[in-house]
């Protein structure tokens, strides 16, 4: 048995969470409440230190210092105040009458990222993937690689046909779509099977902690 208080707390919390597997119970509810509260608080504090202080506070402070020391407006640093004002506008949601103003900062966020996503997805998901699928169908002297490459190209082609929305999946087209979803299912199965090891690792580590570190039953 461990004599470390931290270990005991951790063991209590671990068992509390795991008890959910049997059924919902007061100990799980307690752990859940602690978890939700502490994590929300943690998140808030991290945002405060990693975003608010460096991005808003420090920049505005610099701008004020420049204004006091040199008497000029440092527009670069002042501009971050604008970001802060947009952030405050977001809070106007809490005032029902003018809540709609919060759509402005929202529009800035959505607009910024929609432009970014458009390019990002088009380049790294569409163009780069097309480029990587361009492989020779025949590799001299390597039958395995040749067959593998042909299957990859056919599989990608059929998989794309499956994702066609505006054409009925009938006849040859439907057949290809079917082959496409077969390929997709193989991948899903493989990815499921592969993840089992990662998830079991997590449980093994927890059990090792409970049985070994806490109870001291191993070795």
């Amino acid at each position: 048995m461990s004599t470390n208080l931290g270990v005991w707390i951790a063991a209590f919390l671990t068992l509390g969470i795991m008890s959910f597997l049997y059924k919902d119970n007061p100990i799980y509810k307690f752990c859940e409440a602690v978890f939700v509260g502490v994590s929300a608080g943690y998140w808030f504090v991290t945002e405060y230190f990693t975003v608010f202080l460096p991005k808003v506070w420090d920049n505005v402070e610099t701008a004020i210092n420049v204004l006091q020391a040199e008497g000029r407006m440092d527009w670069f640093h002042w501009s971050y105040l604008l970001g802060g004002i947009l952030g405050v506008l977001m809070l106007l949601r809490l005032v029902p009458k003018i809540g709609w103003i919060s759509r402005w900062p929202l529009a800035v966020i959505v607009g910024t990222t929609s432009g970014l996503w458009l390019i990002n997805y088009l380049v790294s998901n569409a163009m780069v993937q097309v480029r990587q699928t361009i492989i020779p169908l025949y590799v001299a002297g390597n039958l395995n690689a040749s067959i593998g490459n042909i299957i990859i190209v056919v599989g990608t082609f059929c998989g794309l046909i499956y994702f066609f929305f505006s054409k009925e999946h009938k006849g040859v087209f439907g057949g290809a779509a079917k082959v496409g979803i077969w390929f997709i299912m193989i991948t899903f199965g493989a990815s499921f099977g592969y993840t089992v090891m990662s998830r079991m690792s997590l449980l093994i580590a927890r059990m090792d902690f409970l049985v070994g570190t806490w109870l001291g039953l191993l070795k």
Binding site: Y194, M197, M200, I204, V211
Partner: protein
């Protein structure tokens, strides 16, 4: 037939219990599961094993406690291997909690009598440069000047004053880079920047989910990759020092077998009761 009907409607808690037993019981056993060594793991091992004593190895910890079950054993066995071969180890992290995981692994490795006897000194035999924010940009900066990228180490010592760091300018002075990663930034970035740009020699340890994604880079850009707990166990076996990962592999094998067994039983029950259900519907 009753049996199969009951199997189909089995209480989930029985499955949970069986999984818990399948994972826990093997922890008490000392049996070592036979593990085939894959070429990916052998690649990493050989690369380290062929380094002459005194070579400088950079180990980057790019993961946090959530992935520690899979990656911590790899860190431990790698440190053991390096120290037993008298290699000099430089530690860093692109994830904030990485260097802490490194310190935990160091504590563990120094408990091994053989390593303890070597009486290794901080600053001469190993250093921990700590965490640096900036993801792949950090790797890029290291390509021109490592000491300028990490002016101080994890505990605040000046990097330039550490004896081990004397004469280390950039990747040209590093003989091998070992990356333990659980996502971004991780092996992909090390391949793209340290290997493609600065021609470092790189080996990696990844989570099981990630590892297959690295196969295309082997062996040209990556000497090999350890995938999940199994990769860690293979390394321990080939290094002839079976440790934590190997001892966990029995749990892995049993629990995988149990999951497969469930699927088969479920299907047997399903097919055995199918005819009956059709008529009753």
């Amino acid at each position: 037939m009753k049996l199969f009907d009951r199997l189909l409607a089995i209480d989930r808690r029985i499955i949970f219990l069986l999984v818990a037993i399948a994972v826990t019981l093997p922890l008490f056993s000392k049996t070592i599961l036979h593990i085939e060594i894959s070429p990916m793991v052998k690649g990493v091992y050989d690369a380290v094993n062929n380094l002459p004593p005194g070579s400088k190895v950079l180990v980057t910890f790019d993961y946090d406690p959530a992935s520690a079950p899979e990656l911590q054993p790899m860190a431990l066995s790698f440190f053991r291997h390096c120290f037993s071969k008298d290699l000099k180890v430089i530690i860093m992290g692109l994830w904030p909690q990485g260097p802490i995981q490194a310190n935990i692994a160091l504590e563990d490795v120094f408990r091994i009598p053989e390593i303890k006897a070597k009486n290794l000194k901080y600053g001469e035999d190993y250093v921990n440069l700590g965490y640096m924010a900036g993801n792949e940009v950090v790797i890029q900066r290291m390509g021109s000047d490592i000491q300028a990228t990490f002016p101080v180490d994890y505990s605040g010592n000046k990097t330039s004053e550490l004896p081990l760091m004397k004469g280390i300018k950039n990747f040209d002075n590093i003989d091998f880079v070992y990356n333990l990663s659980a996502g971004y930034p991780g092996t992909m970035e090390w391949v793209q920047f340290a290997v493609d740009r600065f021609h470092a020699k790189l080996g990696a340890g990844n989570t099981a989910v990630q590892a297959p994604g690295m196969y295309p880079y082997i062996p040209r850009q990556l000497v090999g990759v350890l995938g999940g707990m199994k990769g860690g166990a293979e390394y321990e076996i080939i290094d002839k020092h079976p440790a934590r990962a190997v001892s966990y592999m029995l749990s892995q094998g049993v629990s995988h077998a149990v999951v497969v067994f469930f699927i088969i039983i479920g299907n047997l029950a399903f097919f055995a009761t199918r005819g009956k259900r059709k008529t009753s519907e």
